[in-house]
Amino acid sequence: MTQSAVPKQRSFPKIEFTDSEAGALEFPSSKSRAYNYYQPAKLRATMYEDVTVDVQPDPDRHLSQGWIYGFGDGPGGYPKEWTAAKSSNWHAFLDPNEEWNQTIYRNNSAIVRQVDLCLQNAKRARAYDGWNPAWLKFVERNLGAWMHAENGLALHVFTSIQRSGPTNMINTAVAVNAAHKMRFAQDLALFNLDLSEADVPFDGSAHIGVWKDAPEWQPTREVVERLTAVGDWCELLFATNIVFEQLVGSLFRTELVMQIAARNGDYITPTIVGTGEYDYDRDLNYTRNLFRLLTRDAEFGETNKALFGDWLATWVPRCLDAAQALQPIWSQPADKPVTFASSLDAAKQKFRSLLEDLGLDSPKELDQ
């Protein structure tokens, strides 16, 4: 029989009532209950502003000792010289989506639940059984190829950019963009996994070969890889969210997949791809705001426009080549409610409208 141990004397801190609540006393600054080191955009600061502004310091604002670590070949911190674009006040940019941790997780969790419910329903209803072979092949090859592009942009474009922007507001908006892309790419991959486990003829590994070798996808892969090789963060953001997403991303997602899937008996794909569309809509919002700020900058607006014109001259032809190369996939589904020409026209029109909004001239290549 074991001897029961003597119970150890419990020890715990004593609660003391201190009356340390707001308003308990009046004294200088006793009512100073707003962050006072920045000017909010409106009269009252938003939660987003309060948790984002000035968290990344700036020697031009309050950082009196400067950056205390440098790179071997240049200054540390977030040098404004890391892009050729110029702003008289980078801090004027605020994310119209007002992303901070609560919005990031609420919004993305809602999407996760939507996608999850959709996929569960698809299995329960044996939705894939009704797809015709041509559509199965279309999803297997093309949606399969596209998810690589989304993943590449997530990891090597947006994740990369968020190290380099000169303010916390820019970098956080881009970090959220990266999270969107990563979630969407993974959702497409897991959808692919579901299909490969369903009792339908679907090759879950075909996407790898298509992305690497199929002629219609090589110019798209080339643009994505060339994007990841860009060193200027602002050019990278412009080329991706303004040019590539409009002429290739939206062309494929908005003007093709979202238009034809239902006509081919598929209500699952548009639900999932629609989440990527929703993401891009939000991401375009912040991107548009940033570049509008730069083109309307009183001091640097005109030089920025010229710079963006150069960037358009580089990236529009590449993206149009990628778009043209995709033409054959418009013929692959059994039901073809839209033509490549009409889809490309629609994408170009939206792109022109976006450029107009930014105060930029449409490049001549768009008219060819």
Binding site: H62, Y69, S109, V115, R163, S164, T172, Q186, R226
Partner: protein
């Protein structure tokens, strides 16, 4: 999601990466490490489908607790002594968090392993979460705590304060210099794996003991993400270890990162825990005891020591010296006294120590009273304006210290101070290791091999030089550490808010000229400097035993 389906899902996600053939990603941030021969190591598996709902649930718990704290009038029972130090801590910590997010692409660029890229990108989002959730906690304190001054100017104060700059290393060190040194060894292998234990596990204990259960709520939620980050770091470390050429760099970086983390984090968190608490139960752990448990046993013995089986020389001497500084050389007590000496240029108030505190310190750190007791009695005696200057300008047997050029905590263990001419300037260092960091490690060549990617120590590193030969009142006004009546200082050497006559104003501190020790040192002749340094070192608090 079941483990089997998670494994399958993760395997599927790895199919998303590919080897580029048209162009390779730009190397924006270089490294002198090489991974050509590295076998790929997997970090913990995480997919976004399960990640977002998991984090949302964690968030919901945090915000529920915040609502509950306000409804339950938590601030009726919060100790002001504790909350005042949060003005400093919470001004610093969101920057290291967001810097960790910004560091992730550096590691992605450097390490050729898609499995790890995924883990690092998820960590990026975690870090955005941590930074903004901490900013939100601070806002709640500002709105509900009796004295919002200091919280209200938090990010500005962080950016222009001498203590903020010390803390900023724990952030800038993540995002600058060699990508692996910064984003892997300094950030993940040392800061996250070792020192978040004192930041996010030990310190919240003390918060709760002082009536604040929101800090534990928020930072424990933060800490629950760290295991994935630690796994990311460990995977990269193992990959780096696979190539013999990396070994000298790993050993260099472990020495630098360990020592700098010790200097910075132990200074801050040690002070918050030991001098910010009202809980003086004899059986509550001191910072030294917490450090022994969380850093020495959990990190050094369980994590670092096993790395020896890979042939890596780990910095035993520096671990032991950190322990020696904390237990025998009074490191934390010296830092606390330094912070309290500088109270006019703080944006938080520092409470005096009482007999109860003295008794506790003497119990935990025998000999404490003979070294520090008299000074704290003077601090108490000189707490109110009218009859005396701020304590830094009164004769209380304390010489304002030289700043360490590297870690920027002053050379407080005076007998250990190193004085050397580096880059044509006389600089002081708190220790041989900080001197080595500046003179040897952060250079473009290391042990005869080029290290062009290693970072540099830059900036106006000595805060005092920026304010040399200025009147204290002008310094405080320039920093903006003045309350909304335009004259009362935010920092005060006591917690009395009930009597305006007890609160120091700009007029009360005017007439005191502040001199930079480093400027003065560089103005001395060789003989003067040698005598000065000898006297400074002799005035040191000798190690016990």
């Amino acid at each position: 999601m079941s483990r089997q389906s998670l494994t399958k899902a993760h395997a599927k996600i790895t199919e998303l990466s590919w080897e580029p053939t048209f162009a390779t990603p730009a190397t924006r941030f270089g490294t002198d490490y090489t991974f050509e021969r590295a076998p790929k190591k997997d970090p913990l598996k995480q997919i976004m489908r399960s990640y977002f709902p998991m984090e949302e649930e964690k968030d919901n718990r945090v915000y529920g607790a915040m609502d509950g704290a306000i409804r339950g009038n938590m601030f009726r029972q919060v100790q002001q002594r504790w909350l005042e130090w949060q003005k400093l801590f919470l001004s610093i910590i969101p920057f290291p968090e967001i810097s960790a997010a910004r560091a992730m692409p550096m590691a992605i660029d450097a390490v050729p392993n898609p499995e790890i890229h995924n883990g690092l990108a998820v960590q990026m989002i975690d870090e955005v979460r941590h930074s903004t959730i901490q900013m939100n906690l601070k806002k709640l304190y500002m709105n509900n705590y009796i004295d919002p001054a200091g919280f209200d100017m938090t990010e500005k104060a962080f950016a222009n304060n001498y203590a903020g700059t010390i803390g900023r290393q724990f952030g800038e060190g993540f995002i600058t210099g060699d990508a692996i040194t910064a984003a892997n060894i300094y950030l993940t292998v040392v800061a996250e794996t070792a020192f978040t234990n004192t930041l996010f596990v030990a310190m919240p204990d003390e918060a709760a003991a002082n009536g604040d259960y929101l800090l534990p709520t928020v930072v424990h939620s933060v800490q629950s993400d760290e295991s994935r980050h630690i796994s990311n770091g460990y995977s990269i470390l193992l990959m780096a270890l696979a190539d013999e050429r990396n070994r000298p760099l790993l050993e260099r970086d472990l020495r630098y990162a360990w020592w700098n983390n010790h200097c910075v984090v132990d200074a801050a968190i040690g002070t918050f825990i030991e001098y910010g608490t009202k809980d003086r139960r004899k059986d509550r752990e001191s910072y030294a005891e917490m450090w022994r448990r969380w850093i020495y046993d959990d990190y050094y013995r369980s994590y670092l020591l096993p790395l020896e089986k890979y042939g890596l020389t780990i910095p035993h001497d520096l671990v032991e010296e950190a322990w020696n500084r904390i237990t025998n050389k009074g490191y934390v007590h010296e830092v606390a006294r330094f912070f309290a000496t500088g109270w006019p240029v703080n944006y938080w108030r520092i409470d005096a120590m009482t007999d109860t505190d003295f008794e506790w310190f003497e119990h935990k750190y025998p000999g404490w009273y003979s070294k520090y007791g008299k000074w704290w009695e003077n601090y108490n005696r000189l707490a109110y304006p009218g009859r005396n200057k701020p304590i830094a300008f009164e004769e209380v047997g304390y010489q304002y210290p030289h700043r360490c050029w590297t870690c920027m905590v002053p050379a407080l263990i005076r007998e250990d101070m190193v004085t050397e001419k580096v880059d044509d300037q006389w600089r002081t260092y708190c220790s041989e290791t900080c001197y080595w960091t500046d003179a040897v490690a952060f250079r473009s060549e290391y042990e005869g091999r080029p290290t062009p990617n290693m970072g540099r120590l830059t900036g106006f590193r000595e805060w005092e030089t920026l304010h040399h030969n200025k009147d204290l009142a002008d310094i405080v006004a320039d920093l903006g550490y003045v309350r909304d009546d335009g004259k009362t200082l935010i920092g005060q050497p006591h917690l009395d808010l009930d009597d305006p006559k007890k609160m120091w104003t700009l007029d009360d501190v005017r007439g005191n000229t502040f001199m930079s020790p480093n400027v003065l040192l560089n103005q001395m002749s060789d003989a003067e400097r040698e005598a000065h340094v000898a006297a400074y070192k002799a005035n040191g608090t000798k190690a016990a035993g």
